[in-house]
């Protein structure tokens, strides 16, 4: 029955500690990019990545990618323990070269999309997503 100051502080701090996990550039992410691009330079324009600025829960974060003329688009979450998310390869019957999905983010970090174009060039976009961990109310 006693209510101590420590209890409330502990409750409050759990959330703070989880929400400010910073983005870390991750060697595995660099390796994945190198494997995909063969080390080629990447343009800043040509691929669009849409992601929320703040995700209410890191378990289910909606994202979309689009790159006109892309053969494929690789998506990485550089701050996850393993950065791979998905690689979309567009076929002959594809409409707009776009796709949406829902992904897991282990904390606040940059999501990266790299498009491989039909002419063999590459383009990159990234977007920072802040992950809040609610988790109150069970």
């Amino acid at each position: 029955m006693d209510f101590t100051r420590r209890d409330t502080l502990a409750l409050g701090m759990g959330a703070v500690a989880l929400t400010v996990l910073p983005f870390r550039a991750n060697a595995a992410a660099d390796d994945a990019i190198a494997a995909f691009t063969g080390g080629a330079a990447m343009a800043d324009a040509g691929v669009t990545l849409t992601a929320p600025e703040i995700a209410e829960n890191g378990n289910t974060v909606p994202i979309s990618v689009e790159a006109e003329g892309a053969v494929s688009i690789m998506v990485l979450a550089a701050g996850n323990p393993t950065p791979g998310v998905a690689t979309f390869t567009f076929g002959e019957m594809s409409g707009a070269h776009s796709a949406s999905t829902r992904i897991r983010l282990a904390g606040t970090q940059d999501v990266i999309a790299i498009a491989k174009m039909a002419d063999g060039s590459f383009a990159k976009a990234s977007s920072n997503v802040k992950v809040t961990i609610g988790g109150c109310g069970g």
Binding site: V16, P52, P62
Partner: protein, 284 residues
């Protein structure tokens, strides 16, 4: 006593000082762009001392979460209603029957059902939640094993039955033979639990609209159950949610399906009389 509880809420609220969203947002909910939902309405008469307006939990979520409920193909809860339909048609138990054997299609037989539960069952002489009624039919009419109260099979079936009432106003009866149960539920709602000495009302009546840790606190309505939560990526049964809320106050909690939670469900459902049935809804 009162002072302590207020400190607890205040401390929880203070933990995310940067955000002070004070109110539900102004968004309106139409499913598939056509089925309009009432997410805000005048509080039922029995709440007149406590609240003027009641709001669906949908109004307190971020836009991205809200969007997941606005289209039945975006709503991950709907695939579980599909699984519920497979269960509905499956013959199980010694009587050799499925739900469909007696009830036909859920579209025909289950319209409006979710909106009025929990309700009095004359034959059994008890207040029954929808989950109890589903299990009642399984054990009495099918001679089959009951579903575990908060299991996936139960929430699949609840989702299938809820969908048939989507958009209809919640309308649970609170007097007559259910009155004593309703009073008992009300008492639990206002009882302070646990080391933090917090009642449901301390959070969901006194502080809805405020941020608690990183969560935008709603009125704790249950018109959206079963709810697909992003947190655990599955449908959540209402008693499982009650359990989580009580556990957060560091209290021992009641069991799913216990008389205490049946009473609490009836009472909380009645606080949402007038809101649309949304199940399966999407929450964080």
């Amino acid at each position: 006593m009162k002072f302590k509880a207020m400190t607890a809420v205040a401390a929880l609220l203070l933990s995310v000082p940067a955000m002070t969203l004070a109110d539900p947002d102004e968004d309106s909910l139409a499913i598939n762009g056509e089925l309009d939902m009432v997410t805000e309405t005048a509080a039922p008469a029995h709440l007149s001392d406590a609240l003027d307006t009641i709001y669906s939990g949908w109004r307190f979520r971020e836009d991205e979460t809200q969007a997941l409920q606005m289209d039945d193909f975006d709503n991950p809860g709907m695939v579980f209603a599909d699984l519920g339909l497979d269960q509905w048609n499956k013959v199980e138990g010694e009587a050799g029957k499925s739900c469909a054997s007696c009830h036909g299609t859920p579209e025909e037989s289950m319209k409006g059902v979710r909106a009025v539960y929990p309700k009095w069952n004359e034959t059994a002489g008890e207040v029954r939640t929808l989950a109890m009624q589903i299990n009642g039919c399984r054990t009495e009419n099918m001679k089959a094993e009951p579903y575990k109260y908060t299991s996936g099979q139960m929430t699949n079936m609840e989702a299938l039955i809820s969908v048939q009432s989507r958009g209809m106003p919640v309308d649970v009866v609170i007097d007559g033979p259910v009155q004593a149960t309703w009073e008992a539920g009300k008492e639990i709602y206002y009882t302070r639990f646990g080391q933090l000495e917090l009642s449901c009302a301390n959070c969901h009546e006194d502080n809805y609209g405020n941020m608690i840790r990183a969560d935008h606190l709603s009125q704790g309505q249950i018109n959206g159950f079963p709810t697909y939560r992003l947190k655990n990526a599955k449908l959540n049964q209402v008693h499982a949610r009650f359990k989580g809320c009580i556990r957060d106050t560091r209290a021992h909690t009641f069991e799913a399906g216990s008389p205490e939670f049946v009473a609490l469900e009836l009472y909380v459902a009645s606080r949402g009389n007038g809101l649309s049935v949304e199940g399966p809804s999407v929450r964080n």
